[in-house]
Protein backbone atom coordinates (compact mmCIF):
# COMPACT_ATOMS: atom_id res chain seq x y z
CA UNK A 1 0.00 0.00 0.00
CA UNK A 2 2.76 2.36 1.04
CA UNK A 3 4.71 1.49 -2.09
CA UNK A 4 1.76 2.26 -4.33
CA UNK A 5 1.31 5.52 -2.50
CA UNK A 6 4.95 6.45 -3.13
CA UNK A 7 4.68 5.53 -6.80
CA UNK A 8 1.60 7.69 -7.17
CA UNK A 9 3.37 10.55 -5.45
CA UNK A 10 6.36 10.29 -7.78
CA UNK A 11 4.08 10.08 -10.82
CA UNK A 12 2.19 13.21 -9.74
CA UNK A 13 5.46 14.98 -9.10
CA UNK A 14 6.74 14.15 -12.57
CA UNK A 15 3.48 15.26 -14.18
CA UNK A 16 3.48 18.52 -12.26
CA UNK A 17 7.12 19.21 -13.12
CA UNK A 18 6.35 18.64 -16.80
CA UNK A 19 3.35 20.90 -16.72
CA UNK A 20 5.17 23.75 -14.94
CA UNK A 21 8.26 23.32 -17.07
CA UNK A 22 8.29 25.62 -20.03
CA UNK A 23 10.57 25.22 -23.02
CA UNK A 24 12.11 28.57 -23.94
CA UNK A 25 11.22 30.39 -27.11
CA UNK A 26 14.07 31.82 -29.20
CA UNK A 27 13.22 35.35 -28.07
CA UNK A 28 13.41 34.30 -24.43
CA UNK A 29 16.81 32.75 -24.88
CA UNK A 30 18.48 35.72 -26.53
CA UNK A 31 20.80 37.44 -24.12
CA UNK A 32 23.56 36.42 -21.73
CA UNK A 33 23.19 33.64 -19.18
CA UNK A 34 25.62 33.19 -16.33
CA UNK A 35 26.24 29.68 -15.09
CA UNK A 36 25.05 29.29 -11.55
CA UNK A 37 25.46 25.72 -10.43
CA UNK A 38 25.29 22.10 -11.39
CA UNK A 39 24.00 19.49 -8.97
CA UNK A 40 26.42 16.65 -9.41
CA UNK A 41 24.96 14.59 -6.60
CA UNK A 42 22.18 14.91 -4.07
CA UNK A 43 23.23 17.69 -1.73
CA UNK A 44 26.38 18.42 -3.71
CA UNK A 45 26.33 21.50 -5.88
CA UNK A 46 29.30 22.54 -7.95
CA UNK A 47 29.88 25.96 -9.53
CA UNK A 48 29.24 26.32 -13.21
CA UNK A 49 31.64 29.13 -14.14
CA UNK A 50 30.39 29.76 -17.67
CA UNK A 51 28.47 32.29 -19.61
CA UNK A 52 26.42 31.69 -22.71
CA UNK A 53 25.44 34.59 -24.93
CA UNK A 54 22.61 33.72 -27.31
CA UNK A 55 22.36 36.13 -30.20
CA UNK A 56 19.45 36.75 -32.53
CA UNK A 57 21.64 35.80 -35.50
CA UNK A 58 21.49 32.14 -34.34
CA UNK A 59 24.96 32.12 -32.85
CA UNK A 60 25.79 31.47 -29.24
CA UNK A 61 29.07 32.40 -27.56
CA UNK A 62 30.20 30.06 -24.81
CA UNK A 63 32.97 31.19 -22.50
CA UNK A 64 34.58 30.17 -19.27
CA UNK A 65 34.41 32.93 -16.67
CA UNK A 66 38.13 33.58 -16.64
CA UNK A 67 40.49 36.06 -18.24
CA UNK A 68 42.46 34.86 -21.21
CA UNK A 69 40.06 32.06 -22.15
CA UNK A 70 38.94 32.24 -25.77
CA UNK A 71 35.17 31.96 -26.19
CA UNK A 72 33.73 29.57 -28.70
CA UNK A 73 30.92 30.51 -31.04
CA UNK A 74 28.53 27.88 -32.39
CA UNK A 75 25.05 27.91 -33.90
CA UNK A 76 21.79 27.44 -32.05
CA UNK A 77 18.10 27.13 -32.82
CA UNK A 78 14.78 26.24 -31.22
CA UNK A 79 12.72 23.94 -33.41
CA UNK A 80 9.57 22.05 -32.43
CA UNK A 81 10.19 23.09 -28.80
CA UNK A 82 13.57 21.36 -28.92
CA UNK A 83 16.74 23.36 -28.36
CA UNK A 84 19.72 22.63 -30.53
CA UNK A 85 23.20 23.90 -29.73
CA UNK A 86 25.86 23.07 -32.25
CA UNK A 87 25.09 19.42 -33.03
CA UNK A 88 23.43 18.60 -29.72
CA UNK A 89 19.68 18.51 -29.53
CA UNK A 90 17.79 18.77 -26.25
CA UNK A 91 14.23 17.51 -26.13
CA UNK A 92 11.22 19.63 -25.22
CA UNK A 93 11.15 20.43 -21.52
CA UNK A 94 14.79 19.46 -21.12
CA UNK A 95 15.56 23.17 -21.20
CA UNK A 96 13.13 25.08 -19.06
CA UNK A 97 12.72 28.68 -18.04
CA UNK A 98 11.56 29.68 -14.60
CA UNK A 99 11.60 33.43 -14.28
CA UNK A 100 15.16 34.53 -14.92
CA UNK A 101 16.49 31.03 -14.37
CA UNK A 102 17.31 28.64 -17.15
CA UNK A 103 17.41 24.97 -16.17
CA UNK A 104 18.95 22.23 -18.20
CA UNK A 105 17.32 19.12 -16.81
CA UNK A 106 19.43 16.04 -16.83
CA UNK A 107 20.93 13.63 -14.42
CA UNK A 108 23.22 16.42 -13.28
CA UNK A 109 21.01 19.49 -13.71
CA UNK A 110 22.58 22.79 -14.70
CA UNK A 111 21.22 26.18 -13.74
CA UNK A 112 21.91 29.48 -15.44
CA UNK A 113 20.77 32.96 -14.41
CA UNK A 114 19.87 35.75 -16.83
CA UNK A 115 22.61 38.35 -16.75
CA UNK A 116 21.79 41.92 -15.83
CA UNK A 117 24.49 44.42 -16.63
CA UNK A 118 25.70 46.58 -13.74
CA UNK A 119 28.45 48.83 -15.12
CA UNK A 120 31.55 48.97 -12.96
CA UNK A 121 35.08 50.22 -13.51
CA UNK A 122 37.59 47.43 -13.22
CA UNK A 123 40.47 49.60 -11.99
CA UNK A 124 38.31 51.19 -9.32
CA UNK A 125 37.05 47.84 -8.11
CA UNK A 126 40.55 46.43 -8.01
CA UNK A 127 41.80 49.36 -5.98
CA UNK A 128 38.88 49.01 -3.58
CA UNK A 129 39.16 45.28 -2.90
CA UNK A 130 42.83 44.37 -3.28
CA UNK A 131 45.07 43.98 -0.21
CA UNK A 132 42.02 43.84 2.02
CA UNK A 133 40.39 41.29 4.28
CA UNK A 134 36.69 40.81 3.60
CA UNK A 135 34.22 38.84 5.67
CA UNK A 136 30.87 37.26 4.87
CA UNK A 137 28.70 35.26 7.25
CA UNK A 138 30.71 32.11 6.56
CA UNK A 139 34.03 32.97 4.94
CA UNK A 140 36.94 35.33 5.38
CA UNK A 141 38.59 36.41 2.14
CA UNK A 142 42.15 37.72 2.16
CA UNK A 143 42.58 39.19 -1.30
CA UNK A 144 46.29 39.68 -1.84
CA UNK A 145 47.64 42.10 -4.37
CA UNK A 146 49.61 39.36 -6.16
CA UNK A 147 46.37 37.64 -7.21
CA UNK A 148 46.29 35.01 -4.51
CA UNK A 149 43.40 34.70 -2.10
CA UNK A 150 43.22 32.95 1.21
CA UNK A 151 39.78 31.62 2.14
CA UNK A 152 39.10 30.81 5.76
CA UNK A 153 35.98 28.93 6.69
CA UNK A 154 35.08 30.14 10.17
CA UNK A 155 32.95 27.10 10.94
CA UNK A 156 35.53 24.44 10.06
CA UNK A 157 38.64 26.53 10.64
CA UNK A 158 39.93 25.33 7.28
CA UNK A 159 42.08 27.78 5.33
CA UNK A 160 42.78 27.27 1.65
CA UNK A 161 44.80 29.03 -1.04
CA UNK A 162 43.30 30.08 -4.37
CA UNK A 163 43.68 32.84 -6.96
CA UNK A 164 41.39 35.74 -7.78
CA UNK A 165 40.77 37.85 -10.84
CA UNK A 166 38.26 40.38 -12.08
CA UNK A 167 36.51 39.18 -15.20
CA UNK A 168 34.58 41.64 -17.37
CA UNK A 169 31.24 40.65 -18.90
CA UNK A 170 29.86 43.50 -21.01
CA UNK A 171 30.27 46.50 -18.64
CA UNK A 172 30.06 44.40 -15.48
CA UNK A 173 32.82 42.97 -13.37
CA UNK A 174 32.83 39.50 -11.81
CA UNK A 175 35.04 38.43 -8.96
CA UNK A 176 36.25 34.97 -9.95
CA UNK A 177 38.14 32.80 -7.50
CA UNK A 178 39.71 29.67 -8.84
CA UNK A 179 42.68 27.36 -8.62
CA UNK A 180 44.18 25.61 -5.64
CA UNK A 181 47.55 25.47 -3.95
CA UNK A 182 48.49 22.89 -6.54
CA UNK A 183 46.81 24.14 -9.70
CA UNK A 184 46.34 27.89 -10.23
CA UNK A 185 43.77 27.77 -13.00
CA UNK A 186 41.16 25.07 -12.52
CA UNK A 187 38.27 24.49 -10.14
CA UNK A 188 36.51 27.84 -10.16
CA UNK A 189 34.34 28.92 -7.28
CA UNK A 190 30.91 30.47 -7.89
CA UNK A 191 31.50 33.67 -9.92
CA UNK A 192 30.28 36.76 -8.09
CA UNK A 193 29.04 39.79 -9.99
CA UNK A 194 30.12 42.96 -8.21
CA UNK A 195 27.25 45.38 -7.93
CA UNK A 196 28.78 47.88 -5.49
CA UNK A 197 32.37 48.40 -4.41
CA UNK A 198 32.99 50.75 -1.54
CA UNK A 199 36.03 51.08 0.68
CA UNK A 200 34.34 49.18 3.53
CA UNK A 201 31.51 47.27 1.87
CA UNK A 202 31.32 45.16 -1.22
CA UNK A 203 28.01 43.96 -2.62
CA UNK A 204 27.96 40.97 -4.93
CA UNK A 205 25.36 38.92 -6.75
CA UNK A 206 25.74 35.19 -7.09
CA UNK A 207 25.77 31.93 -5.19
CA UNK A 208 27.15 32.06 -1.69
CA UNK A 209 27.35 28.31 -1.25
CA UNK A 210 23.81 28.05 0.12
CA UNK A 211 21.60 30.24 -2.05
CA UNK A 212 21.68 32.62 -4.97
CA UNK A 213 21.13 36.28 -4.24
CA UNK A 214 22.77 39.55 -3.39
CA UNK A 215 24.97 39.62 -0.34
CA UNK A 216 27.61 41.74 1.23
CA UNK A 217 31.28 41.55 2.10
CA UNK A 218 32.42 43.69 4.99
CA UNK A 219 35.98 44.93 5.10
CA UNK A 220 37.54 43.68 8.31
CA UNK A 221 41.18 44.52 7.76
CA UNK A 222 44.07 45.49 5.53
CA UNK A 223 46.85 43.26 4.29
CA UNK A 224 50.47 44.31 4.43
CA UNK A 225 52.73 43.82 1.40
CA UNK A 226 54.66 41.04 3.15
CA UNK A 227 51.54 39.17 4.32
CA UNK A 228 50.90 35.83 2.67
CA UNK A 229 48.39 33.01 2.90
CA UNK A 230 49.03 30.57 5.73
CA UNK A 231 46.96 27.51 4.84
CA UNK A 232 46.20 24.42 6.85
CA UNK A 233 48.28 21.44 6.01
CA UNK A 234 45.53 19.76 4.03
CA UNK A 235 43.76 21.10 0.98
CA UNK A 236 41.93 19.23 -1.72
CA UNK A 237 43.47 19.60 -5.16
CA UNK A 238 40.02 19.44 -6.76
CA UNK A 239 37.84 21.60 -4.56
CA UNK A 240 34.48 20.70 -5.99
CA UNK A 241 34.64 17.01 -6.76
CA UNK A 242 31.95 15.22 -4.73
CA UNK A 243 33.04 12.28 -2.58
CA UNK A 244 31.20 9.82 -4.80
CA UNK A 245 33.17 10.96 -7.83
CA UNK A 246 36.55 11.17 -6.20
CA UNK A 247 38.91 8.48 -7.20
CA UNK A 248 37.72 5.24 -5.70
CA UNK A 249 40.08 3.65 -3.19
CA UNK A 250 42.21 1.62 -5.54
CA UNK A 251 44.95 3.53 -3.84
CA UNK A 252 48.55 3.02 -2.88
CA UNK A 253 49.49 2.92 0.74
CA UNK A 254 52.60 4.45 2.06
CA UNK A 255 55.82 2.60 1.44
CA UNK A 256 55.40 -0.78 3.04
CA UNK A 257 51.66 -0.75 2.43
CA UNK A 258 49.34 -2.53 4.83
CA UNK A 259 52.27 -4.43 6.29
CA UNK A 260 53.79 -1.18 7.55
CA UNK A 261 50.47 0.01 8.92
CA UNK A 262 49.96 -3.26 10.79
CA UNK A 263 53.40 -2.98 12.34
CA UNK A 264 52.74 0.58 13.42
CA UNK A 265 49.41 -0.34 14.99
CA UNK A 266 50.98 -3.34 16.72
CA UNK A 267 53.60 -1.02 18.22
CA UNK A 268 51.29 1.81 19.25
CA UNK A 269 47.84 0.40 20.00
CA UNK A 270 47.38 -0.56 23.62
CA UNK A 271 44.65 -3.22 24.07
CA UNK A 272 41.96 -2.25 26.56
CA UNK A 273 41.10 -5.02 28.98
CA UNK A 274 37.56 -5.53 30.19
CA UNK A 275 36.00 -4.27 26.95
CA UNK A 276 33.88 -6.95 25.31
CA UNK A 277 32.64 -4.93 22.35
CA UNK A 278 33.25 -6.27 18.87
CA UNK A 279 32.73 -4.84 15.41
CA UNK A 280 34.29 -2.50 12.89
CA UNK A 281 35.83 0.94 13.20
CA UNK A 282 36.11 2.38 9.71
CA UNK A 283 38.05 5.52 8.83
CA UNK A 284 37.33 7.24 5.55
CA UNK A 285 39.55 10.08 4.47
CA UNK A 286 40.98 11.74 1.42
CA UNK A 287 44.61 11.52 0.36
CA UNK A 288 45.05 14.57 -1.83
CA UNK A 289 47.08 14.72 -5.01
CA UNK A 290 50.19 15.59 -2.98
CA UNK A 291 49.88 12.62 -0.65
CA UNK A 292 48.53 14.52 2.36
CA UNK A 293 45.59 13.06 4.25
CA UNK A 294 42.60 14.94 5.61
CA UNK A 295 38.81 15.05 5.89
CA UNK A 296 38.78 12.08 8.26
CA UNK A 297 35.45 10.48 9.12
CA UNK A 298 34.86 7.53 11.40
CA UNK A 299 32.05 4.99 11.30
CA UNK A 300 31.58 2.33 13.96
CA UNK A 301 29.35 -0.70 13.63
CA UNK A 302 28.86 -3.72 15.88
CA UNK A 303 29.12 -7.37 14.84
CA UNK A 304 25.67 -7.15 13.26
CA UNK A 305 26.65 -4.00 11.34
CA UNK A 306 24.38 -1.78 13.37
CA UNK A 307 25.84 1.66 14.11
CA UNK A 308 27.21 1.69 17.64
CA UNK A 309 29.60 3.56 19.90
CA UNK A 310 32.80 1.93 20.96
CA UNK A 311 34.67 2.62 24.15
CA UNK A 312 36.52 5.86 23.49
CA UNK A 313 39.70 4.36 24.87
CA UNK A 314 39.67 2.22 21.71
CA UNK A 315 38.48 4.73 19.14
CA UNK A 316 40.60 7.63 20.41
CA UNK A 317 43.71 5.53 20.05
CA UNK A 318 42.80 4.45 16.55
CA UNK A 319 41.88 7.96 15.53
CA UNK A 320 45.23 9.26 16.75
CA UNK A 321 47.13 6.54 14.93
CA UNK A 322 45.26 7.03 11.64
CA UNK A 323 45.30 10.82 11.69
CA UNK A 324 48.65 11.56 13.23
CA UNK A 325 50.91 8.55 12.92
CA UNK A 326 50.22 7.18 9.44
CA UNK A 327 51.38 10.07 7.35
CA UNK A 328 53.41 8.89 4.40
CA UNK A 329 50.64 8.31 1.91
CA UNK A 330 51.22 8.01 -1.77
CA UNK A 331 48.74 9.97 -3.86
CA UNK A 332 46.42 8.01 -6.12
CA UNK A 333 47.54 7.93 -9.73
CA UNK A 334 45.56 7.82 -12.90
CA UNK A 335 45.33 4.62 -14.85
CA UNK A 336 46.08 3.68 -18.45
CA UNK A 337 47.86 6.59 -20.17
CA UNK A 338 47.34 8.82 -17.16
CA UNK A 339 49.76 7.33 -14.66
CA UNK A 340 51.85 10.52 -14.45
CA UNK A 341 49.00 12.48 -12.87
CA UNK A 342 47.96 12.25 -9.26
CA UNK A 343 44.48 12.79 -7.87
CA UNK A 344 42.59 13.27 -4.65
CA UNK A 345 41.65 9.79 -3.56
CA UNK A 346 39.10 8.52 -1.09
CA UNK A 347 40.69 5.94 1.19
CA UNK A 348 39.31 3.49 3.71
CA UNK A 349 41.11 1.90 6.60
CA UNK A 350 39.07 -0.45 8.75
CA UNK A 351 39.83 -2.12 12.04
CA UNK A 352 37.94 -5.18 13.23
CA UNK A 353 37.94 -5.09 17.01
CA UNK A 354 37.34 -7.97 19.36
CA UNK A 355 37.63 -7.97 23.14
CA UNK A 356 39.42 -4.66 23.24
CA UNK A 357 42.01 -5.71 20.68
CA UNK A 358 42.58 -5.13 16.99
CA UNK A 359 41.84 -8.45 15.28
CA UNK A 360 42.13 -7.32 11.66
CA UNK A 361 43.17 -4.27 9.66
CA UNK A 362 42.01 -3.96 6.09
CA UNK A 363 41.44 -1.38 3.38
Amino acid sequence: MKRKHNQLLIFLLLVSVRSIAQSPTPAQLVGTWIGESTEVDIGWVRPLPWRMTFRADSTVEIALMANGERPKTVRWQVKDRAVQIDTVQFGAAQWTLRGDQLHINAWQPQRYRRFTDVPMDSATVRKAISSRTWSTDSLIYNLFDDGSVCLKNERTGNTTLHYWQLVPVESSIFLVIRGTHENPVNFSHFPLQITQAGSNMLTVRGWNGKRWGEFGFVRTGNLKPDDHCRTNDFQLCNTFLPPGDQKYPYYEYKKGRLGAIRRLVAREFVPVSGVTQAGLVRFRFVVNCEGKAGMFEMQTVDENYEPCRFDTRLTDQLRRIVQERITEWEPGKGTGNDTNNTYDTVCLLTFRLKDGQVAEIFP
Binding site: N6, L64, D86, I104, A106, Y248, P249, R257
Partner: protein, 277 residues
Protein backbone atom coordinates in the same frame (compact mmCIF):
# COMPACT_ATOMS: atom_id res chain seq x y z
CA UNK B 1 28.79 -0.85 -19.79
CA UNK B 2 28.48 1.20 -16.60
CA UNK B 3 32.24 1.25 -16.30
CA UNK B 4 32.63 2.45 -19.87
CA UNK B 5 30.18 5.24 -19.25
CA UNK B 6 32.01 6.16 -16.06
CA UNK B 7 35.29 6.27 -17.97
CA UNK B 8 33.65 8.51 -20.51
CA UNK B 9 32.48 10.79 -17.70
CA UNK B 10 35.95 10.84 -16.26
CA UNK B 11 37.42 11.71 -19.63
CA UNK B 12 35.06 14.67 -19.78
CA UNK B 13 36.16 15.62 -16.30
CA UNK B 14 39.80 15.36 -17.34
CA UNK B 15 39.15 17.75 -20.16
CA UNK B 16 37.53 20.11 -17.66
CA UNK B 17 40.70 20.05 -15.65
CA UNK B 18 42.59 21.36 -18.63
CA UNK B 19 44.12 18.17 -19.88
CA UNK B 20 42.56 18.46 -23.31
CA UNK B 21 40.49 20.71 -25.58
CA UNK B 22 39.32 24.24 -24.80
CA UNK B 23 36.99 24.99 -21.86
CA UNK B 24 34.15 25.90 -24.20
CA UNK B 25 34.54 22.59 -25.97
CA UNK B 26 34.32 20.95 -22.59
CA UNK B 27 30.93 22.51 -21.94
CA UNK B 28 29.76 21.48 -25.39
CA UNK B 29 30.94 17.99 -24.59
CA UNK B 30 28.87 18.13 -21.43
CA UNK B 31 25.86 19.19 -23.44
CA UNK B 32 26.40 16.33 -25.84
CA UNK B 33 26.60 14.01 -22.90
CA UNK B 34 23.44 15.15 -21.15
CA UNK B 35 20.67 14.06 -23.50
CA UNK B 36 22.41 10.86 -24.48
CA UNK B 37 22.77 9.60 -20.95
CA UNK B 38 19.52 10.86 -19.60
CA UNK B 39 18.93 7.34 -18.32
CA UNK B 40 20.44 7.53 -14.83
CA UNK B 41 20.88 3.80 -14.59
CA UNK B 42 23.71 3.97 -17.09
CA UNK B 43 25.38 7.05 -15.73
CA UNK B 44 26.22 7.46 -12.12
CA UNK B 45 29.05 6.52 -9.92
CA UNK B 46 27.95 3.64 -7.73
CA UNK B 47 29.05 5.49 -4.64
CA UNK B 48 26.91 8.55 -5.14
CA UNK B 49 23.98 9.42 -2.96
CA UNK B 50 21.90 9.75 -6.08
CA UNK B 51 22.72 6.17 -6.99
CA UNK B 52 21.67 5.03 -3.53
CA UNK B 53 18.31 6.78 -3.82
CA UNK B 54 17.81 5.63 -7.36
CA UNK B 55 18.44 1.96 -6.64
CA UNK B 56 16.09 2.14 -3.68
CA UNK B 57 13.42 3.57 -5.95
CA UNK B 58 14.14 1.11 -8.75
CA UNK B 59 13.81 -1.88 -6.43
CA UNK B 60 10.28 -0.84 -5.52
CA UNK B 61 9.37 -0.73 -9.18
CA UNK B 62 9.62 -4.45 -9.77
CA UNK B 63 7.95 -7.47 -8.20
CA UNK B 64 10.55 -9.84 -9.65
CA UNK B 65 12.57 -11.02 -6.66
CA UNK B 66 15.53 -12.03 -8.83
CA UNK B 67 15.70 -8.54 -10.31
CA UNK B 68 15.19 -6.96 -6.90
CA UNK B 69 18.02 -9.03 -5.46
CA UNK B 70 20.30 -7.84 -8.25
CA UNK B 71 19.43 -4.22 -7.53
CA UNK B 72 20.10 -4.57 -3.80
CA UNK B 73 23.39 -6.36 -4.48
CA UNK B 74 24.51 -3.57 -6.81
CA UNK B 75 23.59 -0.93 -4.29
CA UNK B 76 25.28 -2.85 -1.50
CA UNK B 77 28.50 -3.08 -3.51
CA UNK B 78 28.52 0.68 -4.07
CA UNK B 79 27.93 1.35 -0.39
CA UNK B 80 30.55 -1.15 0.67
CA UNK B 81 33.19 0.35 -1.60
CA UNK B 82 32.50 3.67 0.02
CA UNK B 83 32.74 2.23 3.51
CA UNK B 84 29.09 2.51 4.48
CA UNK B 85 29.12 -0.91 6.08
CA UNK B 86 25.76 -0.66 7.83
CA UNK B 87 23.94 0.12 4.60
CA UNK B 88 25.92 -2.41 2.60
CA UNK B 89 25.20 -5.19 5.07
CA UNK B 90 21.47 -4.44 5.14
CA UNK B 91 21.31 -4.61 1.35
CA UNK B 92 23.41 -7.75 1.10
CA UNK B 93 21.11 -9.49 3.55
CA UNK B 94 18.05 -8.41 1.55
CA UNK B 95 19.74 -9.78 -1.58
CA UNK B 96 20.30 -13.21 -0.14
CA UNK B 97 16.79 -13.39 1.27
CA UNK B 98 15.31 -12.60 -2.14
CA UNK B 99 17.61 -14.86 -4.14
CA UNK B 100 19.80 -17.44 -2.36
CA UNK B 101 21.86 -17.85 -5.54
CA UNK B 102 23.76 -14.78 -4.29
CA UNK B 103 25.05 -16.63 -1.22
CA UNK B 104 28.37 -17.38 -2.87
CA UNK B 105 29.19 -13.85 -4.03
CA UNK B 106 28.06 -12.32 -0.77
CA UNK B 107 30.09 -14.90 1.09
CA UNK B 108 33.22 -13.67 -0.64
CA UNK B 109 32.27 -10.04 0.00
CA UNK B 110 32.03 -10.80 3.72
CA UNK B 111 35.26 -12.75 3.54
CA UNK B 112 37.57 -10.29 1.79
CA UNK B 113 35.87 -6.97 2.31
CA UNK B 114 34.44 -7.30 5.83
CA UNK B 115 36.82 -9.94 7.23
CA UNK B 116 33.75 -11.51 8.79
CA UNK B 117 34.92 -15.11 8.60
CA UNK B 118 32.08 -16.93 10.42
CA UNK B 119 29.40 -15.13 8.42
CA UNK B 120 31.33 -15.65 5.18
CA UNK B 121 31.74 -19.36 5.88
CA UNK B 122 28.04 -19.80 6.63
CA UNK B 123 27.11 -18.30 3.26
CA UNK B 124 29.82 -20.13 1.34
CA UNK B 125 28.82 -23.44 2.91
CA UNK B 126 25.16 -22.84 2.11
CA UNK B 127 26.11 -22.01 -1.46
CA UNK B 128 28.31 -25.09 -1.76
CA UNK B 129 25.54 -27.30 -0.37
CA UNK B 130 23.29 -26.33 -3.26
CA UNK B 131 25.43 -28.40 -5.64
CA UNK B 132 27.19 -31.12 -3.61
CA UNK B 133 30.40 -32.62 -5.01
CA UNK B 134 30.94 -29.67 -7.33
CA UNK B 135 33.54 -26.98 -6.75
CA UNK B 136 31.37 -24.01 -7.70
CA UNK B 137 33.04 -20.96 -9.23
CA UNK B 138 32.37 -17.62 -7.51
CA UNK B 139 33.61 -14.74 -9.63
CA UNK B 140 37.20 -15.78 -10.36
CA UNK B 141 37.54 -17.98 -7.29
CA UNK B 142 36.25 -21.41 -6.37
CA UNK B 143 33.97 -21.98 -3.40
CA UNK B 144 36.36 -24.37 -1.68
CA UNK B 145 39.24 -21.94 -1.94
CA UNK B 146 37.07 -19.27 -0.33
CA UNK B 147 35.90 -21.68 2.37
CA UNK B 148 39.55 -22.45 3.02
CA UNK B 149 40.28 -18.76 3.43
CA UNK B 150 37.41 -18.41 5.90
CA UNK B 151 38.72 -21.33 7.96
CA UNK B 152 42.24 -19.87 7.83
CA UNK B 153 40.87 -16.52 8.99
CA UNK B 154 39.40 -18.25 12.01
CA UNK B 155 42.72 -20.00 12.68
CA UNK B 156 41.38 -23.46 11.70
CA UNK B 157 44.22 -24.34 9.36
CA UNK B 158 43.58 -28.08 9.28
CA UNK B 159 40.11 -27.46 7.87
CA UNK B 160 41.52 -24.81 5.56
CA UNK B 161 43.97 -27.34 4.11
CA UNK B 162 41.10 -29.79 3.53
CA UNK B 163 39.08 -27.18 1.66
CA UNK B 164 42.04 -25.95 -0.41
CA UNK B 165 42.88 -29.55 -1.27
CA UNK B 166 39.41 -30.11 -2.74
CA UNK B 167 39.81 -27.25 -5.20
CA UNK B 168 43.47 -27.94 -5.99
CA UNK B 169 42.75 -31.65 -6.52
CA UNK B 170 39.73 -30.91 -8.67
CA UNK B 171 41.56 -28.48 -10.93
CA UNK B 172 44.61 -30.71 -11.23
CA UNK B 173 42.45 -33.63 -12.23
CA UNK B 174 40.29 -31.76 -14.70
CA UNK B 175 42.78 -29.36 -16.24
CA UNK B 176 46.29 -30.44 -15.22
CA UNK B 177 48.60 -29.20 -12.46
CA UNK B 178 49.81 -26.27 -14.55
CA UNK B 179 46.30 -24.81 -14.55
CA UNK B 180 45.93 -24.67 -10.79
CA UNK B 181 45.74 -21.04 -9.63
CA UNK B 182 49.05 -20.35 -7.90
CA UNK B 183 47.22 -18.38 -5.19
CA UNK B 184 45.45 -21.57 -4.08
CA UNK B 185 48.76 -23.35 -3.73
CA UNK B 186 50.27 -20.47 -1.78
CA UNK B 187 47.22 -20.40 0.51
CA UNK B 188 47.50 -24.10 1.28
CA UNK B 189 51.23 -23.79 1.76
CA UNK B 190 50.76 -20.97 4.28
CA UNK B 191 48.25 -23.07 6.21
CA UNK B 192 50.77 -25.93 6.22
CA UNK B 193 53.32 -23.55 7.73
CA UNK B 194 50.83 -22.72 10.49
CA UNK B 195 50.46 -26.47 11.09
CA UNK B 196 54.28 -26.79 11.26
CA UNK B 197 54.31 -28.92 8.11
CA UNK B 198 57.05 -27.03 6.31
CA UNK B 199 57.90 -29.82 3.83
CA UNK B 200 54.29 -29.94 2.55
CA UNK B 201 54.26 -26.16 2.44
CA UNK B 202 57.49 -26.07 0.45
CA UNK B 203 56.03 -28.49 -2.12
CA UNK B 204 53.06 -26.16 -2.57
CA UNK B 205 55.24 -23.06 -2.93
CA UNK B 206 57.40 -24.81 -5.51
CA UNK B 207 54.28 -25.82 -7.42
CA UNK B 208 52.96 -22.25 -7.18
CA UNK B 209 56.23 -20.87 -8.56
CA UNK B 210 56.06 -23.27 -11.49
CA UNK B 211 52.74 -21.68 -12.42
CA UNK B 212 53.80 -18.11 -11.65
CA UNK B 213 57.58 -17.76 -11.17
CA UNK B 214 57.43 -13.99 -10.51
CA UNK B 215 55.20 -14.27 -7.47
CA UNK B 216 56.48 -12.20 -4.55
CA UNK B 217 54.41 -14.01 -1.98
CA UNK B 218 55.22 -17.52 -3.23
CA UNK B 219 58.95 -16.73 -3.02
CA UNK B 220 58.61 -15.12 0.40
CA UNK B 221 56.63 -18.00 1.93
CA UNK B 222 58.97 -20.47 0.26
CA UNK B 223 61.75 -18.72 2.13
CA UNK B 224 59.85 -19.16 5.37
CA UNK B 225 59.34 -22.88 4.68
CA UNK B 226 63.03 -23.36 3.89
CA UNK B 227 63.97 -21.44 7.03
CA UNK B 228 61.73 -23.72 9.10
CA UNK B 229 63.46 -26.69 7.48
CA UNK B 230 66.88 -25.27 8.35
CA UNK B 231 67.92 -24.76 4.70
CA UNK B 232 69.07 -21.23 5.37
CA UNK B 233 71.08 -20.48 2.21
CA UNK B 234 68.17 -21.54 0.01
CA UNK B 235 65.83 -19.52 2.23
CA UNK B 236 68.01 -16.45 1.68
CA UNK B 237 67.81 -16.94 -2.08
CA UNK B 238 64.02 -17.24 -1.91
CA UNK B 239 63.70 -14.05 0.16
CA UNK B 240 66.04 -12.23 -2.25
CA UNK B 241 63.87 -13.39 -5.15
CA UNK B 242 60.82 -12.06 -3.32
CA UNK B 243 62.54 -8.70 -2.86
CA UNK B 244 63.58 -8.63 -6.51
CA UNK B 245 60.05 -9.22 -7.74
CA UNK B 246 58.64 -6.80 -5.22
CA UNK B 247 60.64 -4.05 -6.88
CA UNK B 248 60.30 -5.18 -10.46
CA UNK B 249 56.90 -6.85 -10.60
CA UNK B 250 54.62 -5.28 -8.10
CA UNK B 251 51.55 -4.81 -10.17
CA UNK B 252 49.64 -7.98 -9.48
CA UNK B 253 50.18 -8.60 -5.81
CA UNK B 254 49.73 -5.01 -4.70
CA UNK B 255 46.64 -4.08 -2.76
CA UNK B 256 43.69 -3.30 -4.92
CA UNK B 257 40.42 -2.45 -3.27
CA UNK B 258 40.93 -5.47 -1.11
CA UNK B 259 44.14 -6.91 0.12
CA UNK B 260 45.76 -9.77 -1.72
CA UNK B 261 45.61 -12.61 0.81
CA UNK B 262 49.02 -13.95 1.89
CA UNK B 263 50.68 -10.83 0.44
CA UNK B 264 54.32 -10.32 1.35
CA UNK B 265 55.36 -6.85 2.47
CA UNK B 266 58.62 -4.98 2.21
CA UNK B 267 59.38 -5.03 5.91
CA UNK B 268 58.56 -8.75 6.23
CA UNK B 269 61.10 -9.55 3.54
CA UNK B 270 63.77 -7.21 4.88
CA UNK B 271 63.28 -8.58 8.37
CA UNK B 272 63.64 -12.16 7.12
CA UNK B 273 66.84 -11.30 5.26
CA UNK B 274 68.23 -9.49 8.31
CA UNK B 275 67.47 -12.57 10.41
CA UNK B 276 69.50 -14.80 8.09
CA UNK B 277 72.55 -12.56 7.80
Amino acid sequence: MKRLVLLFTLSLFCSFTGLAQSPADWLLGQFAFMPRFANPNSYFNESSRRAYEFYGFEATMTKDSVKQAEIWATRATGEMKFGNYDRAFADFEKTVMLNPAWQGIIGWRYLFLFRDYPRALAYLQAYDDRTPNFDDPIDDYSVNYLKGRAYAGMGQHDKAVQAYSVTIGDRSKRLGAEWVDYRYLVARGVSYLHLKKAAEGLADFDAALKNYPKSIMANYHKGRALEQLGRLEEAKTAFRDARFFLVSNHSFERDYYYEQPDAAYEEDIEEALARLK
